[in-house]
């Protein structure tokens, strides 16, 4: 985590508000139930929005810590599944090569 004075919330506060609002919408409830078979959990977005606003107003260390923890937890949750394939270090060599009939022309 960046400790120096240049730290800012990972997302603008407006993004946290938009995510919280979307999460609480009836349409999102329907989508989430359709995919996961349960109601969505939106409380963390509300907490993050409050922390973001708190940091903007008071530059609160507690708010900074809370936001970092929350976002790291999201990243961890997204990466917890073992990948089926190995990731590349560089793109495929032939991605930009011309098509075979173009090469022959």
């Amino acid at each position: 985590m960046a400790e120096c004075s240049s730290w800012q919330p990972p997302r603008p506060c407006e993004a946290y508000r938009a995510e919280w609002k979307l999460c609480r919408s009836a349409r999102h409830f329907l989508h989430h139930y359709y995919v996961h078979g349960e109601r969505p959990a939106c409380e963390q977005w509300r907490r993050d929005l409050a922390s973001c606003r708190d940091w903007e107003e008071r530059r609160s260390d507690e708010a900074q810590r809370s936001l970092c923890e929350s976002e790291r937890a999201r990243v961890q949750a997204a990466r917890k599944h073992i990948l089926v394939w190995a990731l590349r270090q560089s793109p495929p060599a032939d991605w930009h090569l011309p098509l075979p009939q173009e090469k022959d022309e």
Binding site: P10, R11, Y34, V84, S90, Q101
Partner: protein, 246 residues
């Protein structure tokens, strides 16, 4: 009653040795004619080809799912060029499109893509395959688990299995039905390009499902509609700020 559902899948394996009859050569007939990868710009196909090109252009310029995928691919070193990486062709059967890993090209079945919304979905689906090809060592031709994984991701993230699309297919279900749809459509996509039994295809999907269903790259979430896709794109554009502040 609706006809057989259209499927999209990778692996028209052009350029691969024709030692055995691939199912894919029956679906994409122009791809595997010896040394012939010409597009169908003959006068009898002009109208459907023209529609395909115009719809593709509109998709590339306006659709938020596709714009995010194009950005993500550019970031991974695979900038997409419309004329190089897309091809509108006539296809057999009900297939809507495919990704040809041997030529790094997305095939769009101009005779089977019905309207702009369908084009949006097909391009999204195939770009997910292209994105996987770009970022990972995907063995499209000999590793069924890799193929199954990309098909699960494409069915999950492209909108193929949205509630509305399933209703139009007369598949009614609500609680967790999305996952059922993803499994079924991934299986169908595999069967469209591989000469294997349904049981083998289904087992491959089941084997990789837990991992691949939860791999949301590059969206970071399941984009249920364009709003989610726009939010995902916003997050992608914000990623430098994000990762430098956690």
């Amino acid at each position: 009653m609706a006809g057989a559902p259209d499927v999209s899948g990778p692996g028209p394996a052009a350029g691969e040795q024709l030692q055995q009859q691939h199912v894919s050569c029956q679906v994409f007939p122009k791809r595997l004619a010896q040394g012939n990868l010409q597009q169908g710009f003959l006068s009898s196909f002009f109208t459907s080809n023209q529609k395909c090109q115009l719809r593709l252009l509109r998709t590339l310029e306006t659709n938020p799912y596709v714009k995010l995928l194009l950005d993500a691919m550019k970031h991974s070193g695979c900038a997409v060029n419309k004329d190089r990486h897309f091809s509108c062709e006539d296809c057999n059967g009900n297939v809507s499109g495919g990704f040809d890993a041997s030529t790094s090209q997305i095939v769009l079945c101009q005779n089977n893509i019905r309207n702009q919304a369908h084009m949006n979905r097909v391009v999204t689906h195939e770009l997910i395959h292209a994105f996987d090809h770009c970022r990972a060592h995907v063995d499209w031709f000999t590793n069924l688990r890799h193929l199954a994984c990309s098909e699960v991701r494409a069915a999950n993230l492209s909108g193929d299995c949205s509630l509305v699309n399933e209703i139009f297919r007369f598949h009614f279900g609500l609680k967790q039905h999305h996952q059922t749809c993803v499994r079924d459509r991934a299986t169908l996509s595999i069967l469209a390009v591989r000469n294997i039994s349904k049981e083998v295809a289904k087992n491959a999907v089941d084997d990789v499902f837990e991992s691949c269903f939860n791999d949301y790259e590059p969206f970071g979430r399941i984009p249920h509609n364009k709003t989610y896709a726009r939010y995902a794109h916003r997050d992608f554009q914000n990623r430098d700020r994000y990762y430098s502040n956690i």
